[in-house]
């Protein structure tokens, strides 16, 4: 979804929400039978399905899933290219975890919208005044992946997006190294999550970022704080 369209969609959703809450909520909710609407599955992002009996994303995916391709043995050249890169390849299991457990929930909690396009940011939300916010969201599940590494071409794309949308970009890292599989395979403990923040984007170690101990409430405040007034590590 294009950024401006995403913002329009976000505003429309907020308007609908406000309008609904201004009226009588009782009648609206009275017609709802929770038992008929499964919720809470990661693939539903914690939301109700629209109709009773609706298949979850995972169920639909399983129904259309192709036979997996066989993993190719990397050639010597491929190994050398991967070795010289300063990045880690993302494990599919970690990708699924980040997608199912973090991004959409994070967007909802901070009052933003996750973008499903190839935009240079993951989440957008309105700011105070004319500027908007774009958030680069990272999920860290292993202590060894402790550095965000961004090369010039990627930074140029972000700078271009900032200018075009008169926006501020923020980097947020969800350190889930103590959350992921905390209680066994597939059993995560979100109470152990650590959140790190830095204004802008670039290459830096997560340990040098500001740790947001006040949760989402503090994070929301930080987004609108003047750069000069940000705490150490946040700017």
């Amino acid at each position: 979804m294009h950024y401006s369209a995403a913002i329009r969609d976000l505003e429309a959703r907020k308007a609908r929400y406000s309008s609904r809450n201004a009226g009588s909520d009782r009648a609206f909710y009275a017609a709802w039978d929770e038992a008929k609407h499964p919720r809470g599955q990661p693939e539903n992002s914690g939301e109700f399905s629209k109709t009773p009996g609706t298949k979850s994303t995972a169920e639909k995916s399983a129904a259309t899933k192709k036979t997996p391709v066989k993993r190719q043995e990397p050639t010597a050249k491929t190994k050398s290219e991967i070795a010289k890169a300063s990045h880690y390849m993302v494990d599919a299991k970690i990708q699924r975890y980040a997608e199912e457990h973090n991004e959409k929930r994070f967007a909802k909690r901070i009052g933003g919208l996750s973008l499903d396009d190839n935009e240079p940011v993951d989440v957008v939300l309105p700011g105070l005044g004319p500027r908007e916010h774009g958030i680069e969201l990272k999920t860290m599940v292993e202590n060894k992946n402790n550095k965000i590494t961004m090369k010039r071409s990627a930074m140029e794309a972000k700078a271009k997006w900032e200018r075009k949308h008169k926006a501020k970009i923020h980097t947020v890292v969800l350190d889930d190294s103590a959350v992921f599989n905390a209680n066994g395979d597939g059993e995560h403990d979100e109470s152990k999550r650590r959140i790190f923040y830095r204004r802008g984007y670039g290459s830096f170690r997560v340990g040098t970022m500001y740790e947001v101990k006040g949760g989402m409430a503090e994070l929301k405040q930080l987004l609108n704080v003047d750069r000069k007034k940000l705490p150490q590590g946040a700017a």
């Binding site: 491929t78 990045h87 390849m89 997608e99 935009e119 240079p120 990272k138």
Partner: protein, 108 residues
Amino acid sequence: MGYYAIIGGEQQVPLASLSGWSEFKAWADTLDASDEISHLCEYGFSQNIPALIAQLEASIPAGSVGNTVRDLIGNLRAAPEGAESIFVSDGMGDEDAADIPLLRRALQ
């Protein structure tokens, strides 16, 4: 930008947001005869860039996934000479260099 494509081990280009990559993978699951795309989605890398380009070009979808596909094709076509592989990264690594300060202002 949740995910980046690392092409030839050195070129880092935007690939897709977290949701965008999820949508891309769901689209890839619907394709026939797309082993390179499937391999990229399943294992995070492909080592046959010409075949990957051909499979992407044969099935560009409409909508936001189409934008991701078109950008990926463009970046693969502009790959460094001699590049053989592309892999998916979330921008995290363990480079042991000194921290680089934010370079945003230098780029503007």
